[in-house]
Structure formats: C-alpha cells, structure tokens
Symmetry: C2
Subunit: 205 residues, 2 copies
C-alpha cells in the first residue's frame, strides 16, 4: 500500500500512527482519513495533546507514579497509610488498584518486571529505590501486587530476597483464586487449585 498514497503528509501520518501497538497500516489509514473529515481543531488538539503528554509528563520522586509535581498526590496525602507500600509493575496497575477502593496505602511503581527473555534485569527497574524506601524504617508492610505470571513471580521472588534483611517488615502478596462472579465449572484448574490452597475462614454475612 506504501506507494499508493497520493500525499506525503498522509504517508507520514499513516507511518507514525501505525507505530502504535496493535495498529496496522490499514487501521492507521482509516484513522488518518477520519481526522481529515473532522474539524481541523480536533486533529490539532489530538496532535498537540500527544506532544504535550510526552514533553510535559513527570514522575513522582518517591513512588515513580505519573505526577505533575515532584511528589504525587497519593504520596503527599496525609490521609493515606504511609506504612504500607504496594509494589506494582506500572502506572496502569496503580489506576486499577485505586479503582478497587480497597487500598489506602502508598505505591511503588517498578516500571516493568524482570524478564531475561526481553533483556530486562533487576537493575533496570525501580527495585533499588524500593529497598531504600523500606530502609528508611517508615514502611511496615510491603504488598507485592505483581501479575500471576512467570515474570511477576520472578520479580516478587527477587524483591523478597532483597527485603529479607529488614527484620519486622511484613511482606505479603495478592491472593490468587476464583474471579468474583465466575462459576467453578469455568475456572481453570490451576486457579481452582490455588483458591483451595489459599482458602479463608467462612464468615456469615
């Protein structure tokens, strides 16, 4: 399709849009032509928002979550429990956990997971700064909230080894079991087995 664009501007836009994950050249062309049909204002707003996002974004110096100030709103909040730190892979996971409304502590964003296959070692993640945070003595519990995958488990294991040195620090991880609303019949056997092993006392409502 490359040579069939009658415009270098269109060609350029399609090429840039198709660099986005999950967007091929056909979809990129559809999006570009959509932008051409809309108000110029709308297309310029989109382009400018992308540039502003990338140029203006800052990260919290404590937890590495996205922030527009040196210290994010969560880390600055006096109403949150500063003794609990929830370790997550990325910024999106912070949003997911915040959306549960079940956590009132702070976060620590690693910026990825250890993955030898992808060439990501512990030094490329914010693990050193986590150890430093804990060594300050203010942290009572670290919750490992990483994906239930090989990479997540490897990273949790590595972090647990690094945090071993702190006596009295409580180290926990997310529970694994059946999804809420799921039927036993449709729960995979690994998850079902896990939910059996991690069973908790039944409490009458």
């Amino acid at each position: 399709m490359e040579s069939q664009f009658s415009s270098a501007l269109l060609e350029g836009a399609v090429t840039e849009i198709s660099r986005l994950p999950g967007i091929g050249r056909k979809t990129a062309l559809r999006l570009a032509l959509h932008l051409l049909r809309r108000d110029e204002r709308e297309a310029v707003a989109l382009g400018q928002a992308i540039i502003d996002l990338r140029k203006g974004i800052r990260y919290c110096s404590v937890c590495h979550n996205i922030s527009e100030t040196g210290r994010c709103a969560i880390c600055s909040s006096p109403s949150r429990d500063h003794g609990m730190v929830c370790v997550v892979e990325n910024v999106r996971d912070v949003m997911s956990l915040e959306a549960t409304g079940q956590f009132s502590g702070l976060y620590h964003v690693l910026g990825g997971l250890i993955s030898p296959i992808d060439g990501i070692g512990p030094d490329m993640l914010e693990i050193g700064s986590l150890v430093e945070r804990v060594s300050s003595g203010a942290v009572r519990e670290v919750i490992l909230a990483l994906s239930a995958t090989m990479e997540g488990d490897t990273t949790s294991f590595y972090i647990s080894r690094r945090l071993n040195q702190f006596d009295g620090l409580v180290l926990t991880r997310l529970a694994r079991g059946m999804s809420v609303g799921n039927e036993i019949e449709y729960t995979d056997e690994l998850t079902l087995g896990r939910s059996l092993v991690e069973r908790v006392p039944y409490e009458q409502a």
Copy 2:
C-alpha cells in the same frame, strides 16, 4: 476511570485519543502509556504528523482526491485515459481501485454517499462538479464504483438520473458476484443470485 488519572496531561491525551473511531478510553490509556515509554522523538513525530496532515492536506481541484498540488498526479498524468471517470465514495476507495492495477482512467471522489438517515443529501457531495466534468465533453464513460449498499445504490441511481442528459455517454457500474477464491457453499444467496444474473461468456484460458 476519569478521575483516577494523576495527571491532567495524561487525562487530556486519553480524552483526545479516545475521540478516534473504534478507540475507547481503555485503549486510549494503553496507547498513551505506550507513548510515555517510548522515545520523546517518536511521540512528538506522531503528534506533529497528525497536525501537519490536517493543516497541510489539499484536494485535487478536478477529482477531489487527496493531493498536495492543485491537480493530483492521476489527473495530471498523460498516460491515463481521460475519457473514463470512475466515481467513488472516498479517498480510500481510490487507493483500493488503484491497488487492483485494472484501471487506467481518472477518478471522481464524491466525499460520501447519499444517506437521508444521516442527513447527507446530494448537495453535500461532489455530484454537481461531476456533472460539470461530464458536460465538458471529454468524458466517454462514467463507471459508478459505489458500495453495494442501500446508500451506494441510491447514490448511483441519483447520479444516473443527473447524467441522463448526456447523449452518447456510457454509464456502467461494478459487477456483482462471487468473491474470487470463495466457494459456492459459502457465498450468500443474494450474491450468488446476482452472479447468476450477471453471468459472462466463458473463455478458455
């Protein structure tokens, strides 16, 4: 999810990206976070390409295809048959037809199809300019290459009525029938019926 963004820049980018067709807020967030992980150069190139596209794009004064000059490369080409004009809905259809390598005439981009439901009447399309082109006398054949839908058929019918006045003008439309490579068993009955009605003489290869 709206209030959970810790950054107005991120919020802004997600809002703008999610205005694109087929992209919801979740996908927009995924794309925005992807851009944050990549080189600043890449994100700025994307944003700028979108702005440049919308601000810089021009349309051919003859056929209304995308062009960066007053008259597009196809309309300016002496090697194309200027006596044949293929009427299409949009710019993408020009690319699709060019990709077949089967057409050496010119195009006429309507900019849409007549659709009373969507409030699109004939006056909002480039039909007047088509009639004008034909009235110049240089056009021998007009091929109606519109979608095989209610809107496409309505538009074809309307155009055929407008072009009735020109004696000697050949008016054709795309053939309808089985897709190449398709099995009879999997061809819908309307299409199969159509391919029977529009059967052509069998030629030995």
